[in-house]
Amino acid sequence: MKLRAAIFAVGVLSLAIYTGLGFRASQVDEPLYPSPSLSKIVRLSEYDSRLRGTRADTDVYEFGEPDGGATILVLGGTHCDEPASYIAAYLLLENIEMERGRMLIVPRTNRSAMSHKTIGEAHPPTFDIPLPNGVRPFRMGSRYTNPLDQWPDPEVFVHSPSGQELSGADSRNLNRSYPGAANGNFTGQIAFAITELVKQEHVDLVIDLHEASPEYPVINAIVAHERAMDCASMAVLDLQLEGLEFALEPSPANFRGLSHRELGDHTLTHATLMESANVSQGRLRGKTNADLVVSGLDSMYVRAAKINMTRVPYDEKGIPLKVRVGRHIAGFHKLISAFSQLNPDRAAAFTGIPTYDELQQHDLGIYLDPHDHP
């Protein structure tokens, strides 16, 4: 009897240690290796001190100096189950060399959402990107703020200041919470800090990186606030000339809380958002694992595409992570180029970032190799 109890106790203890270590690991930021042109790293709490010491207090990487060129803000990891969003941001901050203007990169915009996963989605805790010599693991998080930071969800989320009503879970969705409020909930405070960052740093152009399921209507697209429409339409045309199909979507005026709508309305910035197609978010997907995240290949979506159930072309090649990151990087190039053409006195220039074709040719690992960043 005592032996059985001892075995049971050891088993429970082992399980507790194993899950505890897993939990602890999920609370530690994975290391990033900024390029040598990094000017400084500040914390988001610089723009709203209430975030200091919380899981939402995230790093803001600044490259370049105030020199009259544009200040550009890249937001990755608003939704941490959209890997192309934060992998593109990591790639940018690990490779960019600013020649004119300032680049602010927030790779884990909702850092709290990176510390857990959404229940029921079966997303893997990590996925690997092959490097020239080995692999580099990256974490996968959630669309929502960690309930440990904000709980319980209300039955109905009432957006401030519009009064728009959404489902309760969206109270933890950062991209339904802009512009945020000084006295708002935890997620609203993150949105408020980002809005303050845009105001205080006089950000000219915001590029918010996202992914969506292949059956979602706004996909392979650049969404733009009215002020950014000229810039976005130029970028879309340039992308088409290079063989990349992007749609141009207007920021809906009556759908509140989205970054492009609220940052455009509440600040002077040119607010844009990009979407790539990610099957690991899709409702039609089959087996969900790390391979699906990286390969973007799902047999159920191949079948779905054959009966016109997807909004993007999809076949046996899938839509791999390197394609999705490549589209974000290509859009980044073209948006900044278009902004610079339209505002030559505020033009920005940079080097070190691969083109879409270079990324497809060399693969992601070449640009994410920590050994290149001693």
């Binding site: 339409s233 130029m234 045309l237 088409q240 141009l248 207007p250 809906p252 005026a253 009556n254």
Partner: protein, 183 residues
Amino acid sequence: MIRHWSLALLLFAASVQAADFKTPVLLTSGGQSADPQMIKTLLTRENIPFTYEPLATSAMLAGQGALIIVLGGSSKGLGAAKVSAEQETARITELLKSAAEQKITVLAVHVGGKNRRGALSDEFNKLGANMADEIVVVVGGDDDGLFKGIAESRKVPYSSAAKIADLGGILRAKFAPAQPTQE
């Protein structure tokens, strides 16, 4: 038989009058989608003088050489413009009727592919195509031959482009014919 078909094609081609496009251009929307933004960018790049007004009415036609209407409906766009589908239909009808009365050439353009087809869009698509002097469609928007059929029945020129970016050359050819070079 082949000879008959060739003759019919020649007769059709001869009966289709090439539209005469002049500048400046009034650019408007037919359904309040974001698609006219792309044409706006192309006109800017091609240095073709234009005025862009998504809600243009006949009052804006004075002094214009041509009208480009970019077809395709967007419920979000209609909502943002605070007009109903019925009001948009009435505006387009009034504008295109007035353009015809003033002999201002109308180019109907559809660039939105499959996303700008369907019940809402086709109301504007059919209206614009049935009153335009020429129709240009980007591939994907006319898989069922709606626009081509209207163009053939009305004997107006119809052309298609593989991509939106290719419309730049088409617009240049229509609105900014090459000037004689000085050699």
